[in-house]
């Protein structure tokens, strides 16, 4: 029998009635397969047989859980909500749409220094980036720099497809609603010297490499980005056109990493997105030493209307990503439950085995 025999073959090769009138005997082949006598492992699920599984699960999961928990706990993370809905918040003033360039500053203190690379996120809550019509509202060919798609974006982008008879350059609702606050971080190095030291924030390297280099491309054409985007218009909500997202030509237009990150729609209404990288300087100094900082926010993005929240998050990461105590706890919990059930089964099995032995005799 062929080793690659699978169910499909049976379907094709198994017409029930062989063509009649065959001279040879119709005796079926006495093979293990055809007689359904394939050697088989026949597990029987009883307390006795399942018991080891539970213990093994328990024994494996609990250490993993502890490991994850510890790792997660070692991650430093600080979260600053700057939505400004509370009257006391410095950003409260920006809630009214009248103040157009509204800049607010929030002070915070790091109790412990952050070591290694520090990631700066902005987090949004109650923001349904996974809404069905929202998710669809983009044109990947346009983002990939396809010239025809640039001028004639996909229908999916409606109603953010054209504005004033011009195609919108990154069309669609996702692009239109791009996060456009600017966050800056300053360290107040010592009390005596009030001049804040700006923390260098790296703009590049926050998006997936493939996105930046493969998926998103600026349209071909002349040297000048503006020329390449000629004939298009900026999304309605945007302040500046797409080619002016950044001064660096490698980080402007569709390949702007903030834009790329934004275009990767979040799975859940509460999410964070990577905003900047704070690279560690050298081994001697922590990336973000403990101390007082203040966050400078250019407040553009309105979330309070739909009860959304905005946050700035600073976090170090471990091998398993950001801080998330859940997984460790879950592992520990499942492991212990499994262990417990194992014990229950052990008791049952012990009680039952005496009886089952006698049962065997009668059988």
């Amino acid at each position: 029998m062929a080793m690659n025999y699978n169910a499909k073959d049976e379907v094709d090769g198994g017409p029930p009635c062989p063509p009649g009138g065959t001279a040879k005997t119709r005796r079926p082949d006495n093979t293990a397969f055809k007689q359904q006598r394939l050697p088989a492992w026949q597990p029987i699920l009883t307390a006795g047989t399942v018991l080891p599984t539970f213990f093994i699960i328990g024994l494996i999961f609990i250490p993993i859980g502890i490991g994850i928990f510890v790792t997660s706990n070692n991650i430093r993370e600080i979260e600053i909500d700057y939505t400004g809905t509370e009257p006391s918040s410095p950003c409260n003033k920006c809630l009214s749409p009248d103040v157009t360039p509204c800049i607010c500053t929030i002070n915070f203190t790091l109790e412990k220094s952050f070591e290694g690379n520090v990631f700066m996120y902005y987090g949004l809550s109650n923001f349904y980036q996974n809404h069905r019509r929202y998710v669809k509202s983009r044109d990947d060919s346009q983002l990939n720099g396809d010239p025809s798609a640039l001028l004639n974006p996909s229908k999916e982008c409606e109603p953010y497809r054209r504005n004033e008879d011009k195609p919108i350059a990154p069309c669609g609702a996702i692009a239109n609603s791009m996060f456009n606050d600017t966050l800056e971080l300053f360290l107040i190095s010592n009390e005596s010297d009030p001049t804040p030291v700006p923390i260098p924030l790296k703009k590049k390297g926050i998006a997936w490499w493939t996105d930046k280099n493969v998926k998103f491309r600026n349209p071909p054409g002349g040297e000048n980005l503006e020329e390449r985007f000629k004939g298009t218009t900026k999304p309605v909500n945007w302040l500046k056109p797409v080619y002016m997202l950044d001064s660096d030509i490698d980080n402007s237009g569709f390949v702007n990493e903030d834009f790329i990150v934004w275009m990767r729609t979040a799975a859940l209404p509460t999410f964070r997105k990577l905003y900047r990288l704070i690279e560690r300087k050298n081994d001697l100094h922590p990336t973000l030493p403990a101390g007082r900082y203040y966050l400078n926010i250019t407040y553009n993005y309105p979330v309070h209307s739909f009860d959304g929240r905005k946050r700035m998050i600073l976090s170090t990461i471990s091998w398993m990503g950001g801080k998330n105590p859940f997984l460790g706890i879950a592992y520990i919990a499942i492991g212990s439950i499994s262990f417990l059930l194992g014990v229950v089964l052990l008791v049952i099995n012990h009680k039952y085995r005496n009886n089952s032995n006698t049962a065997d005799i009668t059988i």
Partner: protein, 1405 residues
């Protein structure tokens, strides 16, 4: 066209609707083209399957339509070859020997000089014998060959109808004469011409108007019960889907309302910029949800089920144990979609002849003039064909129940063994196998299997025969040769002459089509010539078909004239004897060896073979198989029929040589007279003798009052009485026949002949008159002897029936035979037991008028006591009497107002026998049970008379034995023999059912769980019908990634090994009760799916909460988790892991990841909106992915595994126990069997039992009770397990209340738990139940499940049924499942006794 057909299926319409819905932009969820893919795939697969089926059907149609036959062409003035489909009404068709008749044809001419034509109607009514058809009167006189051009008559006949046994019409010749047409003139389509060289006829009905096709009601689309239930659950799923969609629609509406006025950034307005109103949004969301959640309706379920069924069918076909070596045929599954119904059958309706029995008659024994010749040797010979198997021994004592018969009993026991094992043994002995093969090759010459041919004569009788043979040979030249014989010997001689002569057997040599040619040996020829010269008008006296009165009168006159010739005749015979002198040496030699040495079997067999060779391999073809058997029997006594012409019969005797009897009349067999007679002139005595042969019951009334005309009885007792006694003893034989003789004086004969001829020549009510005339002749007969013939049961039938019974199947036998025969067969195949009460319903007597009121009275009279008896509380658990009902009563029972009552009664009965039922009645009974009892029915039959029944039943099984293919054609499954039914049902049926049930449940689980994931997500995406799982995964998940393992499991999973299933047929009940797939299991399953989806959704949700993960990067791990969960779940459900399971599981995972990787790498800008470029690759680098993938499936499946384990060890189902026992004790089983084989049954014990049993049926209740109880002893003794428990064997009836130490200590704890509960839980209940269980404990030493199931079956006490499902069964109880139940509920004992018992019982718990 096929597409159109497919859209008839609701499911397909639904899927296409969804796919089309997807094209509407406002609601589309997927890329429209992609959404169409699975639907197209499924349509394509179905189309392919249909195409294949259509093609094969077309091929067979084409084959039949293009069979050729010779049709007369007026243009060419000759017969030309035409296809069947071109035959029109009015065509003249010429048919030759062994051709199948293409249409209903009126026989106009036959090559047979008498205008006869033999046909075999096996294809039509299942009877293999040859039937005679006559040329239409008026054409038979034509000497020259029939010329269609000269045919000018007008034929009038009735409209096409489906009545096979009736045909009326008339033919008006051109001279104005009118001749009636009867069914004897009609050749029906589908029959085969036999023994007639060529016939010509005119087509009367062709094509669909033929009776055969009109009888063939079209096939019914069968849908299995499981499928029906599944469809119901699919509807539930639809409901669930709609609920989910509605819920999310409402949710979306609210959400939109809330966020719209707040101008949320993520709210996307309509394309024209206007805001979407919440209501429209809700409607859109609803539709989209339906698309997204369409997976809930398992699109691939139907396809998968079809695939699985095809594979199951393939495996059933391939099962080597269903392969019949003799006929070289394996089981055929003709219906692909009802395999799982095999596992749920509750009622089996079986035909008798040819299904339970072989339809081959074997000479069993005879009594001649009051002396019984028991033919021990014959029985022994039969017995010696097989080595006594241990299993056989089990059977013997049970069958051997009525021991009144003394020595007969022992025969019977041996015979039972012989029946069951004979065929297998044929293979063992070389020469026999060859003979067998030869008989298979020449299948169309019916009834010539070696079993029938080889009959060992009884030595005593043989001696007598040869003695009188010798005497006669010596004294033949004297005046009254017979007078020299003692009356007994003359009886013996006459008996054998009667056997040989009184029949319509046709002698053939194997190589020639008709026997005439074979008998052209010189001596006969000369004698014939001689006789013919001397009796020129003799020809006319013979056959009944001759109409002219005048010639007959002259013949009558000539009779005295040729009397003087007879001495001449006998001298000639003497001459002939001398010619034959060379032969007697061999013959006597043969006799010597036979009488002397019985022991050397081999020598005898060789001798017989040589004998057969000597006799030029004469073969007898008879209208009924028993005739042939009798002739073969006679031949064994060297009284061989060598030639039969229409007017003379030649018999060859070793000493006398060839005797030629002049055949004056043959009064054929009919079902009313139940006998046939021949009138012959005896060559030795020159007397005219009437030999009558008929069913014993009828013939006995015709007997001459004792010793009036016959010589005085040789012994004190009248031979008649003794013969009657023997016949009673023989009543267990299916067929017993008495042979009688009457000596007529010439005057009497002349007188009778006169009236007979008048009757024959009358046109109007000829049949009536002939009947009367026959009655007149058959009076005042002298009893010669009786024969016992048996229609051998098929191999393994009693065992199969016992097994099927144990499996909880009710077996009804619907037979066309007469009541006695049916009952006898039922006894023989253990359908009836002697201890049982038999309710016989015969409405015959009271049926004066056929008005509806009269039968109602009758039947209700009959039933009132019975039905009340059945329902009375006294008999909460009746032993299940047997109901025997005959055709006429059945007709009343099937009337609307009585059918319910009939069913109530029948339901209580252990077995039901319907005799004399027509095909229509059979199907009506099946239909009734099917519709009223809502039970799964299986009909099994082999002949065309079973076709309607087979078609009506849920599962129709045809036996593809020697009879025609009609039943097979109509059936869903065709098995070679009845005994294969056991394996088909108990093993394959169970497997198919459990596989499919599990698979369907798994499917529902899988889809619900998958949809659950999507549904939970809706809470986090504003109910916007968004899916976090990539549409590709969503669509192909069911189709590709997770389908293979479940298919393999669905095809190959064996919950219990075949060996255990066969040894413990009770396991079959799980299928009957639909244990694996019930509404509650369905909902439990759904609940588990919901739980699992919750776990699988929220673990990733929490793990990725507030992270930078994007939607589809998050959805992919969920998909992977779902896949792992499915596979693990399947792993928990799978009972046997073969390498195929492993491979497919691995393959699924591999496929998923490789597809994901390829898909994610293939295109950077394609597949909006997910655009999953490089997602999988990124995920594979993320440890979080692995961590979630590890924990989520485990967490999801922990509860299931835990509960499975708990259930497995605390409350195991019988199936699980069976599996456990199979695993634990594969060796034990075989050793215990081996023990039994070595350890012969204690002989004395058995006789003891039988002594006890004799009182049984006639006694009062307590006596009855005793007889019932006594059953257990042999059963225990012969059950393999019991041999390991000596105490159980020793225990007999009076001891049953005694404690049984070993037995009880061996009791399983499971059985004790319910036992404790029992008295506590139902104290108010009738004492009988607990106490009876209490009694069961010492008796069977164990509770067993069947007890309880049978208990609750009748009492329908929910409590008990609850216990029943919890209860253990134990193997040692197996042998007595039902009987225990009966026993337990046996009528009340003194109350005191009960209390004592209870005391005992509770002590032990």
């Amino acid at each position: 066209k096929n597409l159109f057909e497919q859209f008839h299926r609701l499911a397909n319409v639904y899927f296409v609707f969804i796919a089309l819905l997807n094209f509407v932009p406002a609601v589309n969820a997927f890329q429209p083209g992609l959404a169409l893919a699975p639907v197209l795939f499924i349509l394509a697969v179905t189309a392919f399957k249909d195409l294949w089926e259509d093609y094969s059907r077309h091929r067979s149609d084409h084959e039949i339509n293009h069979l050729g036959c010779l049709v007369f062409s007026r243009e060419e003035k000759k017969y030309v070859n035409r296809f069947w489909k071109e035959i029109r009404v009015g065509d003249f068709v010429q048919l030759r020997c062994n051709e199948i008749i293409p249409a209903d044809i009126l026989l106009l001419s036959s090559s047979d000089p008498d205008g006869l034509c033999h046909i075999e109607t096996a294809n039509l009514d299942g009877e293999t014998n040859l039937k005679r058809r006559q040329v239409v009167r008026g054409f038979s006189e034509l000497v020259s060959e029939f010329n269609p051009l000269t045919f000018t008559s007008v034929i009038e006949c009735e409209k096409p109808n489906n009545n096979l046994s009736r045909f009326h019409g008339c033919i008006i010749h051109d001279n104005g004469k009118k001749a009636a047409l009867y069914k004897e003139n009609l050749l029906l389509r589908g029959c085969t011409i036999r023994n007639t060289e060529a016939v010509v006829g005119i087509v009367i009905y062709a094509g669909h108007e033929t009776k055969a096709l009109l009888n063939n009601s079209g096939p019914r689309y069968k849908r299995s019960q499981l499928e029906r239930q599944m469809n119901c659950d699919v509807l539930w799923c639809v409901l669930l889907l709609i609920c989910m969609s509605l819920f999310s629609a409402v949710g979306h509406g609210l959400w939109i309302q809330r966020h719209q006025e707040k101008k949320a950034l993520f709210d996307v307005p309509e394309s024209d910029g206007s805001a979407l109103s919440p209501v429209t949004a809700a409607v859109y969301s609803f539709l989209t949800m339906i698309i997204v959640l369409q997976v809930l309706i398992p699109i691939s379920l139907y396809v998968s089920i079809e695939i699985v069924k095809v594979c199951q069918v393939y495996f059933i076909n391939q099962d080597i144990e269903l392969y019949d070596e003799e006929t070289d045929s394996q089981l055929q599954c003709r219906a692909l979609n009802i395999t799982e119904d095999l596992g749920q059958i509750q009622y089996i309706f079986s035909d008798k002849t040819g299904t339970l029995t072989e339809n081959k008659m074997v000479f069993r024994r005879c009594t001649v003039s009051g002396i019984e010749y028991s033919h021990d040797a014959n029985a022994q010979r039969l017995a010696r064909y097989q080595e006594a198997d241990s299993e056989e021994e089990e059977v013997v004592p049970r069958g051997n129940t009525v021991s009144q018969r003394g020595s007969i009993g022992s025969h019977q026991s041996i015979r039972i063994m012989s029946r069951s094992q004979s065929t297998r043994s044929h293979r063992r002995t070389g020469s026999r196998a060859e003979a067998r093969r030869a008989s298979i090759l020449s299948k169309h010459t019916a009834f010539s299997s070696p079993m029938e041919k080889d009959i060992t004569p009884d030595p005593k009788l043989f001696e007598k025969v040869s003695e009188c043979d010798r005497c006669l040979a010596i004294s033949r030249h004297q005046e009254h040769p017979l007078a020299h014989l003692s009356p007994e010997l003359s009886d013996v001689f006459d008996f054998f002459i009667a056997l040989t002569v009184c029949n319509t057997v046709v002698v053939t040599a194997p190589d020639q089509p008709r026997q005439k040619a074979s008998c052209l040996k010189s001596p006969v020829k000369t004698i014939e010539d001689f006789l013919r010269r001397f009796t020129p008008s003799r020809l006319t006296s013979g056959c009944s078909s001759i109409g002219s009165l005048a010639t007959n009168k002259s013949n009558h006159k000539s009779n005295p004239n040729f009397l003087p010739n007879l001495p001449n005749d006998s001298t000639l015979l003497g001459l002939e004897e001398k010619l034959d002198q060379s032969e007697p040496t061999i013959a006597s030699n043969g006799f010597g060896t036979q009488s002397e040495c019985w022991a050397p079997e081999q020598a005898r067999e060789q001798k017989q073979v040589s004998e057969v060779e000597q006799e030029r391999e004469l073969r007898y073809e008879a209208e009924s198989p028993d005739e042939a058997a009798l002739v073969y029997a006679a031949r064994a006594y060297n009284c061989a029929l060598v030639d039969r012409l229409h007017d003379q019969v030649s018999v060859e005797l070793p000493h006398l040589g060839r005797l030629t009897f002049e055949l004056l009349h043959t009064l054929g067999f009919d079902s009313i007279r139940k006998r046939m007679s021949v009138v012959i002139r005896h060559p030795l005595t020159d007397e005219i003798n009437v030999y009558t042969k008929g069913a014993d019951s009828v013939v006995m009334d015709l007997l001459l009052p004792c010793s009036s005309g016959t010589p005085s009885p040789p012994h004190g007792h009248s031979p008649i009485r003794r013969t009657l006694l023997h016949l009673q003893g023989a009543a267990l034989d299916p067929h017993s026949t008495a042979c009688l003789v009457q000596v007529l004086s010439k005057e009497e004969y002349a007188c009778w002949l006169q009236s007979h001829l008048e009757a024959e020549s009358s046109v109007d009510n000829r049949e009536e008159l002939l009947f009367q005339s026959a009655l007149r002749l058959e009076t005042n007969l002298h009893l010669l002897g009786a024969t016992g013939i048996e229609d051998r049961l098929q191999e393994g039938v009693p065992e199969t029936i016992t097994k099927l019974r144990q499996a909880g199947l009710q077996i009804w036998v619907l037979s066309g035979d007469k009541q006695e025969t049916a009952i006898n067969v039922a006894y023989a195949c253990k359908l009836l037991d002697h201890g049982e009460e038999i309710i016989t319903l015969n409405a015959e007597s009271q049926v004066g008028g056929f008005g509806s009121s009269a039968p109602q009275e009758v039947t209700s009279q009959d039933w009132e006591p019975w039905s009340s008896w059945c329902l009375s509380p006294e008999r909460v658990n009746p032993p299940g009497p047997c109901l025997v009902i005959d055709g006429r009563s059945l007709a009343y029972a099937l009337e609307k107002n009585l059918e319910d009552r009939f069913l109530i009664l029948a339901k209580q009965c252990r077995s039901v026998l319907c005799c004399r039922s027509t095909p229509l009645q059979k199907s009506m009974v099946v239909k009734l049970v099917r519709s009223k009892l809502k039970a799964m029915t299986l009909a099994i039959g082999d002949g065309a008379n079973d076709v309607s029944m087979i078609q009506v039943a849920d599962v129709g099984v045809g036996i593809s034995g020697q009879e025609g293919m009609q039943a097979v054609m109509a059936s869903d499954f065709a098995v070679p023999r009845f005994r294969y039914l056991e394996r088909l049902l108990i093993v394959h049926g169970h497997w198919c059912y459990s596989r499919l049930a599990n698979m369907v449940l798994y499917f529902f689980y899988k889809n619900t769980m998958f949809v659950g994931l999507l549904f939970w997500f809706q809470f986090y995406c504003g109910f916007s019908a968004s899916a976090m799982i990539d549409q590709w995964y969503l669509i192909f998940f069911n189709l590709l990634f997770s389908s293979l393992p479940q298919l393999v499991t669905g095809v190959l999973d064996k919950d219990v090994p075949a060996r255990v299933l066969l040894s413990e047929p009770q396991l079959y009940r799980s299928g009957q009760n639909m244990e694996e797939y019930r509404p509650c299991t369905f909902w439990l399953n759904m609940a588990d799916a919901a739980f699992q989806s919750l776990v699988c959704f929220f673990i990733p949700y929490l793990a990725y909460y507030d992270s930078e993960v994007d939607m589809f990067t998050w959805g992919t791990p969920i998909t992977a988790i779902a896949l792992f969960t499915f596979l693990l779940h399947l792993g928990i459900e799978t009972k046997t892991w073969t390498w195929l399971n492993w491979i497919t599981c691995g393959f699924s995972i591999l496929l998923f990841f490789s597809v994901a990787l390829v898909y994610n790498a293939s295109c950077a800008t394609c597949y909006p909106p997910s655009n999953p470029y490089w997602t999988m690759q990124t995920l594979l680098g993320d440890p979080l992915f692995y961590l979630t993938c590890l924990i989520a499936p485990v967490a999801a499946l922990l509860p299931r595994l835990f509960f499975k384990a708990l259930q497995g060890s605390l409350f195991p189902t019988p199936l699980q126990l069976g599996r456990q026992s199979a695993k634990k004790t594969p060796k034990k089983l075989s050793t215990s069997k081996g023990n039994l084989a070595q350890e012969p049954l204690p002989r004395d014990q058995r006789t003891e039992d039988s002594e006890e049993r004799t009182i049984g049926p006639s006694e009062s209740l307590s006596g009855d009770f005793a007889s019932q109880a006594s059953w257990h002893t042999p059963q225990l003794a012969c059950s393999p397990e019991a041999s390991g428990e000596p105490s159980a064997v020793d225990m007999s009836v009076p001891v049953r209340e005694d404690p049984l130490p070993e037995g009880l200590s061996a009791q399983t704890p499971e059985s004790s738990t319910p036992g404790q509960d029992m008295p506590a839980d139902c104290p108010g209940d009738s004492k009988r139940k607990p106490s009876s269980t209490g009694r069961a404990a010492p008796l069977s030493s164990l509770f067993n499940l069947p007890n309880f199931s049978s208990l609750n079956w009748i009492s329908s006490l929910s409590l008990v049924s609850g216990l029943g499902s919890v209860l253990q069964f134990s193997r040692s109880g197996l042998q007595m499942d039902k009987r225990d139940g009966e026993f337990l509920s046996r009528p009340p004992q003194p109350d005191q006794d009960l209390h004592d018992l209870r005391g005992h019982a509770t002590d032990y718990f």
